[in-house]
Symmetry: C2
Subunit: 318 residues, 2 copies
Amino acid sequence: MHKQPDLQDIRSAHQRIRPYILKTPVLTCTALNRMVGAKLFFKCENFQKGGAFKFRGACNAIFSLSDEEASHGVVTHSSGNHAAALALAASKRGIAARIVMPSTAPPIKIAAVKGYGGIITFCEPSQESREHTAEKIVKESGAILIHSYNDYRIIAGQGSSALELLEEIQDLDFILAPLGGGGLLSGTAVAAKGLNPKIKVIGCEPKNADDAYRSIKAGHIIPSDYPNTIADGLRTSLGDKTFPIIRDLVDEILLATEEEIITAMRHIFERMKIVAEPSAAVPLAVLLSNQLDVAGKKVGVILSGGNVDFSGFFEALR
Amino acid sequence: MHKQPDLQDIRSAHQRIRPYILKTPVLTCTALNRMVGAKLFFKCENFQKGGAFKFRGACNAIFSLSDEEASHGVVTHSSGNHAAALALAASKRGIAARIVMPSTAPPIKIAAVKGYGGIITFCEPSQESREHTAEKIVKESGAILIHSYNDYRIIAGQGSSALELLEEIQDLDFILAPLGGGGLLSGTAVAAKGLNPKIKVIGCEPKNADDAYRSIKAGHIIPSDYPNTIADGLRTSLGDKTFPIIRDLVDEILLATEEEIITAMRHIFERMKIVAEPSAAVPLAVLLSNQLDVAGKKVGVILSGGNVDFSGFFEALR
């Protein structure tokens, strides 16, 4: 896929991945509606296979490959949900997934990739080492590199979540998604504006990792600089494929503090009784901070994932 | 309601409370199915209003009252989910709920009762003081005492969860429910055996609070003796109304250790991405301990509630 995806590409991606993904539920919560003063519709990708929306894009990339391409397997560098998602998607097609992970990756993430049959190559914990190691594997094995967000196949797959949400709740006034590298937000914007040009699309970014906010303001990509945020899925920089989509289709980028993100996450646990990872709580954090006038409106939220490390919590119970 | 409820009483209770309760979803989980070797259907009362099944029984009790009875309000003694559920149900009818709580009750439980408009009277942290204080309020105000489980109206209301589950998944081989005072298990057994006499009904109790297991074996109620279990909803003793129902209709009572309960709770968080309180994890703990031959069978599980104190978890994130 060599051109920027449009609504039709997202529909095609959705058709392609439908046999493998879960059609995630849309949940509502009276208590949170009351707190925000709007009608919120949470598209619960925490229930997606692999525990995050990443499986949608990974599946689309894997099942877009020709048989010849697929025969060499795939490779990616990621320390997060994309690594596990790609390994899982590759296993569905019965091909090899080579995952480059920093040697410092949390044991829980390493276990997830291994559990889905991914073949791990460890590297130094730097962007250069990650990219270099992945390129070396491409050269040696002919495996296809699938970047975690700066890839049109990935973007089209991620957009299928918003597509499902907007098919179920047709008259949303707003749709909010977390913003890290921009794969999910790009796909969400293409789907939402394609279906309804009047809908407002809002990117939600941690204040401590506001490189996308600053990039859009500056008109060019400003790389993130190892930002310190609890929303570990949102530490990445925009890419040359996600930047123009977000610049052209997203209405606004809003920021949330660490405190606001943690509070929002707690409300999701305590009020909705579901598990959301910090990145997934950023849109609710933005809504609760009253930066956006949504009074009485219908607001869609992509609740992006639920992969939380509960080791400490359960240790404390013993 | 002065006789032991039958299926028709549970149907009537369901009709009565339907406008107020949430019809909770039934969730499945591939990973847990694989671990147990059966098809599990979780009836998610953690999503119920008030965060637990208790709202069903409380609603049935409150809306069963005549206008004359209701005019004096209701009273109960409880430090757990029943207190909040009764306050919430009373607020739906617009009547007063007086809640007797031990002065040692956790602040989060006190806040929940206050949040629903309950009027709290504190007492000493003993069974005698709780009962005495409640009786005094009955005498002074004419309020109707609604016990948290030893009450046919409560039992009939709690049975509506199993009724909904069995209407949705009709050919269950087993149904499992946690067992504390026995209100939920009694209602579950009456509904399940009424709809399908062949279904096996299993009560699931913490090994550290196995008074019901011992009571059924002995043929008379053996009171629980301040048992030390993380499943704080299951520390109570059987009552004279729940004992005979469980004796006559429940096929087996099985026990889970503290370690098994915590592990099961963790699986619910990590695999299902939902929040379950320890008491709600006891049936899964029993299933994972291989005491019951459910291979290839369809198994219903009443996931009773999701009121967890996350203070420590979120403090640690800061």
